[in-house]
Symmetry: C2
C-alpha cells in the first residue's frame, strides 16, 4: 500500500523514498517478527569501516573543541557551554547557541504548517536519511559521546550509535504502521429507508503539536532518536533539549537533522536545539507553553515524576530509572553466572538504566552443581569477577569507560564511609579507581560489592547512581522473588534478572514479574551483556511501574502523536 502516501512528492523525494524503502520494509518486518536485524554495523572494526574513518572521526571531534558549534537557528541570545570530558577532565570549550524559547517554539510551529502537508512516507524517508547521515558520522559521534558521557569507545560507537539509531528506526516503523492504519479515503454506501446514500470520505493524518525532547546526560542518543523521529514522522516538530553536561551528541544530531531537512527543501526549524545550563534550566518554560503538545523526557526520577504529577493537556512520555534486581536461586555454572552479573554491573560503570544493583540470594545459599554457596560467598565470587575485569586495563577501559560526574564518585565515597559501621553489612569488594591506559586523568571507578541484611532496605532499595552491587540474603527463593518484584513495583525496574536451573521455580516466578511490570531476563550469560536490549525485539520500559510510562517502542509510543481529521461529501450511488 506504499502508493497511498504518494501525493505531491517531487521526483527527488520519490527517489529518497526508494533509497530507504527496503530499510523501512525490513524494520516493519523486524518489529513484527522481533528477530534480530539492523541496517547498521555496530562494531567499530576497521575491517568493516576501513582504516581512515576512525581517525577522521576523531579529527572531526577535535576540530570542534574550543569553538562555537555553529547552528543557524532562530532567536539566538548567547553562546554557552561548560562540558568537561570525563576522560581528560578538561573543558571541551565548545559553546552552543542558546535560543529564546518563544523563538524556537514559534519557528517550530511555523515549520509544522508546511510539514503537516508533506506525505508521511516522505517524512519517514527524511528521518531515515537523517539516521543514515548520523551513522555515516558515527566515529565522530562516538568521540562526542565518550567525551561528554564517559562511555567507552566501543560502547559509544555501538550503544550510542547503531543501537540507538535502531531504536529511532523502530519508532519510525511503528509510526508508519500507525499512520498506514488510517486509510486516506473511502466510499461509504448504505440504505436509509428507501434511499441509498453514498458518501466519499477523506481521512487526514494531522500532527498534534510541537514536541519537546528532553535528553538524559549519560546515554542521550538512545531515547532521543525515537522521540525525534516519532515526532517528525507524524508531522510534528522536535525541539531537542540536551542535558547541559552532554550537549555535543545532540548538537551533532540536530545539525544533521537540519541539514537533511534543508537539503530536501524543508524548513530546518522542524529540528532545533534548546541549550540551557545547570544554573538556568529552561525545560519548564517550554513545557508550560501551550504550543508544546508532546514531551518526551529521559532523566532523573525526581524531575520525571514531577512531570508525571504536573503535566496535563499534553502527551508525556517518560523514562526515568529503576532499581534493577537479580535473584539467584541456583546456577548451572557459578562462575559464568557471576561473570555475567559482574560484567553487566561493570558496563559503563553501572551508569545505565538497565544495570543491576541489588542481588537477592536465599539464606540456604545459591545451589550449584558443587553444592550450595552462601550469600556472602556469592558476593565474594562476584567481587573476584569484577577484580578480573579491573585488573586488565584494556578490558576495564573497554567495559567500564569513565564516570560521567563527580556525583557518582560521591555516592561511592558516602557508601564507603557509611557501610562499614552498619551491623550485618560486609563490604566484600572495595570500590577503587582503575588506571585508564589511554587517559591517565580519566575519572574511573570499579564496583563496590557488599552483603547487606534484608532489613536494610534504605540502603539496597534506593537507586545508587554508581557502580555498586548489594547482595541481600532472603529467607528463601520465593521470598527473593517477592523482594525483587516488590522493589520493581515500588521503585521501578527496567531490567530484572533471575537465575535458576529449576524450571518450575522459574515458571512460578514469571507471573510475579509480569504483575510487577518487570521485564525479565532468565539465566543469561555469555558474550552478550545480560542488560543488552535490542531494538526491534526487546521492549524497553513497561510503563507499569515507576521507571517510566513510555515503551520503546510500541504502537502506544506513536499512535497519539497524530490525530485524524475527516471530511465527507455526497458520492455517486452506483
Amino acid at each position: 500500500m506504499a502508493t497511498r502516501f504518494r501525493t505531491g512528492a517531487d521526483s527527488r523525494l520519490e527517489k529518497l523514498i526508494e533509497t530507504h524503502r527496503a530499510t523501512l520494509d525490513d524494520a516493519i518486518a523486524a518489529v513484527e517478527s522481533r528477530a534480530s536485524w539492523s541496517p547498521f554495523a555496530d562494531s567499530p572494526s576497521t575491517k568493516i569501516h576501513g582504516a581512515e574513518k576512525p581517525a577522521a572521526g576523531k579529527a572531526a571531534f577535535e576540530a570542534r573543541l574550543g569553538r562555537r558549534f555553529e547552528l543557524d537557528q532562530p532567536g539566538i541570545v548567547d553562546w554557552i557551554g561548560t562540558e568537561t570530558s570525563p576522560y581528560t577532565r578538561e573543558p571541551l570549550g565548545i559553546t552552543y547557541p542558546r535560543s529564546a524559547p518563544d523563538a524556537l517554539i514559534a519557528a517550530a510551529a511555523a515549520a509544522m504548517d508546511g510539514w503537516r502537508h508533506v506525505d508521511p512516507d516522505v517524512r519517514i524517508a527524511i528521518c531515515l536519511e537523517m539516521a543514515r547521515r548520523i551513522y555515516d558520522r558515527n566515529f565522530e559521534m562516538a568521540q562526542a559521546v565518550m567525551h561528554v558521557a564517559g562511555q567507552s569507545y566501543v560502547q559509544a560507537f555501538s550503544g550510542s550509535g547503531p543501537n540507538a539509531l535502531d531504536r529511532g528506526i523502530e519508532a519510525l516503523a511503528y509510526a508508519a504502521k500507525a499512520m498506514r492504519d488510517v486509510r486516506p479515503h473511502a466510499r461509504w454506501t448504505r440504505p436509509f429507508g428507501r434511499d441509498m446514500v453514498s458518501l466519499e470520505k477523506r481521512y487526514t493524518v494531522v500532527p498534534r503539536g510541537v514536541g519537546l525532547v528532553i535528553c538524559c546526560a549519560s546515554f542521550p542518543t538512545w531515547n532521543a532518536y525515537p522521540a525525534i523521529f516519532a515526532n517528525l514522522a507524524t508531522g510534528n516538530a522536535a525541539i531537542v533539549k540536551p542535558h547541559p553536561i552532554a550537549i555535543l551528541p545532540m548538537a551533532i544530531a540536530v545539525e544533521i537533522a537540519r541539514e537533511t531537512l534543508s537539503d530536501h527543501g524543508f524548513d530546518p526549524n522542524l529540528a532545533t536545539l534548546a541549550v540551557d545550563s545547570i544554573e538556568e534550566p529552561v525545560a519548564q518554560a517550554y513545557i508550560d507553553d501551550p504550543a508544546i503538545q508532546i514531551v518526551d523526557f529521559t532523566g532523573s526520577p525526581r524531575y520525571g515524576s514531577y512531570l508525571e504529577r504536573t503535566v496535563t493537556g499534553k502527551l508525556l512520555f517518560t523514562e526515568t530509572a529503576g532499581l534493577n534486581s537479580v535473584v539467584v536461586e541456583s546456577v548451572e555454572d557459578l562462575s559464568q553466572t557471576a561473570r555475567a552479573i559482574a560484567r553487566s554491573a561493570s558496563l559503563f560503570s553501572a551508569q545505565m538504566c538497565t544495570s543491576p544493583q541489588t542481588i537477592f540470594v536465599p539464606s540456604s545459599g545459591v545451589r550449584t552443581p558443587e553444592g550450595s554457596i552462601s550469600a556472602v560467598d556469592f558476593a565474594r565470587v562476584l567481587g573476584a569477577e569484577i577484580d578480573a575485569i579491573a585488573e586488565d586495563a584494556a578490558t576495564a577501559a573497554g567495559i567500564m569507560g569513565a564516570i560521567q560526574g563527580d556525583v557518582s564518585i560521591d555516592v561511592i565515597e558516602a557508601l564507603r564511609e557509611k557501610l562499614p559501621g552498619i551491623p550485618g553489612v560486609e563490604i566484600v569488594r572495595d570500590a577503587v579507581p582503575y588506571a585508564h591506559p589511554d587517559y591517565p586523568d580519566a575519572r574511573t571507578m570499579t564496583a563496590l560489592v557488599a552483603k547487606v541484611p534484608a532489613d536494610l532496605a534504605d540502603i539496597y532499595a534506593e537507586e545508587q547512581f554508581a557502580p555498586v552491587l548489594f547482595v541481600v540474603e532472603t529467607p528463601d527463593a520465593d521470598e527473593a522473588v517477592k523482594f525483587a518484584t516488590s522493589l520493581a513495583k515500588e521503585k521501578g525496574a527496567i531490567s530484572s534478572y533471575l537465575y535458576s536451573v529449576d524450571p518450575e521455580f522459574v515458571d512460578a516466578s514469571l507471573d510475579s514479574y509480569t504483575a510487577a511490570g518487570a521485564n525479565l531476563s532468565v539465566n543469561l550469560h555469555g558474550t552478550m551483556w545480560i542488560n543488552f536490549a535490542a531494538a526491534y525485539s526487546d521492549y524497553h520500559v513497561t510503563g507499569l511501574n515507576p521507571a517510566g510510562n513510555a515503551c520503546l517502542a510500541d504502537l502506544a509510543f506513536v499512535a497519539s502523536r497524530f490525530r485524524i481529521v475527516q471530511s465527507r461529501w455526497p458520492g455517486k450511488t452506483a
Copy 2:
C-alpha cells in the same frame, strides 16, 4: 493468526470465539475499509424483529418501574434513584444500589488479577457476547433511553442501540488489532563477536488498571460501550458511573455485562455500576484513587476540561461538546439544504454533540440557482422547514423527541427574553413546544431561529444546550470559513458543515477545517441526517480542539490501555 491467542481456553470458550469470529473479522475489515457494515439492524421495524418484541421490550421496561434494580455487586451502602421521564414527567421510581467506591475498586482490582490471564480473544468474544445480548434486549433498552434521556423511540432504538453497539465493536476491532500487533513469542539470534547468541522471548499483554467510565446524560450508551469494551478487551475492569438523571440504560448494560461474565465463569465484578446523585457526586473519589488508571469521560465541557487540567499519571479520554457551525456559501437547491440543516437541528431537539448551532452566511447572501438570498431570508427558510417538522405531530415526535432537562428550557426562555432587546438581532422563528401525540405531558421544544450580528460572539459563539439556530452574516464566504474554523479551534467542534457549489471554494476551505481539527461534512442533504456518524467509518472527535481528546475509534483509543511485559531466556543456537 487467530491461534496465537489460544491458551487455556476451554471448549465452551472456544465455541464462544467461533460464534463471534465472523463479527470480529468483519469489524476489523470494516475499520480498515471504512465501508458501511453492521452486524445489527438499526430499524425497529416489526418486519425485522417480529410483532412481539416491541411490546415485550416495553413490558420489560415497565416492570422495572417503582422497584429496586437488583444488581448484586459489592459494597452496597443504600439504594438511590431519582430519574424522571421527560415524556411523562413522572419519576421512574427505580432505585439502584449505591456501592462504596473502595469496595467497587477493590473488587475490580481483584477480578482483574484473573482476567489478565484470560486469552485476549476470549475477552473480546465475551464483549461481543455482551453486545449481542444487549442487542437482543434493544426494545427494552430503547424504552429506557427514551424515558431517561428523552430521545424519540426510533432514535433511542437505533442511535442508542445498534449505532452505539457498533461503536463498541469498533473499539473491540482496534483492541484486537493493537493486541495482535504484540507477538506472543519470538526467537532472536545474532552474533556477538565470534559467538552466536540465541534467545527465546515471550511478550505478554498486561492491562493497565481499573477503568472508570463516566457517562453523559443525553446519549449515554454511545460513548460508554467503546470505553467499557476497550477496557475489558485489554484486560482491565470497567466501573461504570452513569449520570444520575440517566442511570437505567447503563444499569441494564452492566447487568447484561455481569451476567455474561458470570455465565462464562468469570468474575462479574469486572463490570460494576457506580451510582451517585446530583447532590453527592462520586466521580472524583474514584478518579483520585491510584488503582483507577483509566478514565473515560463524556459530559460537560466544564467538568471535562477540569479533568483535562487536573488528572495526571493515568489515561484520560474525554468527549465534551463543541460548537458546531455551518457555512452556507451557495446551494444547488435552497430548500433541500435548509431542510437538511433544519432536520439535524431538530433531531433530538439539538441535544446531540453533533447538532449544528451557528450558521455563517456571506453578506452578499447565499447563492442559489434563483439568485442570492440574504442571511435573514435564509434564516426564514430554515424557520419554515422547522415549522414543517413541528406542524406534523408524528414527524415532530419521531425527530425531536423530548427535552431531557429543564435546563434546556431555561436556556430557551433566557434567549427569548434577552434577544429581542439586542440591536441587530432578529428572531425569525420563535421556540415553542410541540404537542406530543402519545405523551401529552412530554417536555418538548422546537428550535428558535435568530439572525445575529457577527460582532455578538457572546451569543452565537457560546454553546446553547437547547434547540437554537443562529444565522450570522459575515463579510464574505472566506470570512465565514474563518469564523467557523476559529470557533472550532477556540470552543471545540465535533461536526462542521459546509455548503457550496463552488469546488474551488470547497477545496480552498478544506485545509482550514483540517488545521482547526474540525471534521467536515460538505453539501450533505437527503434522507441521512447530516450529523449521522457511522461507526467503522466516521472518526468521531479529532482531539485537536476543545471538544475532547479521544477519537471513536482509532488505535490511540486502545493502544495505551494495555502494556507489554517481556521475558527472555537462552535459546538453542540452530
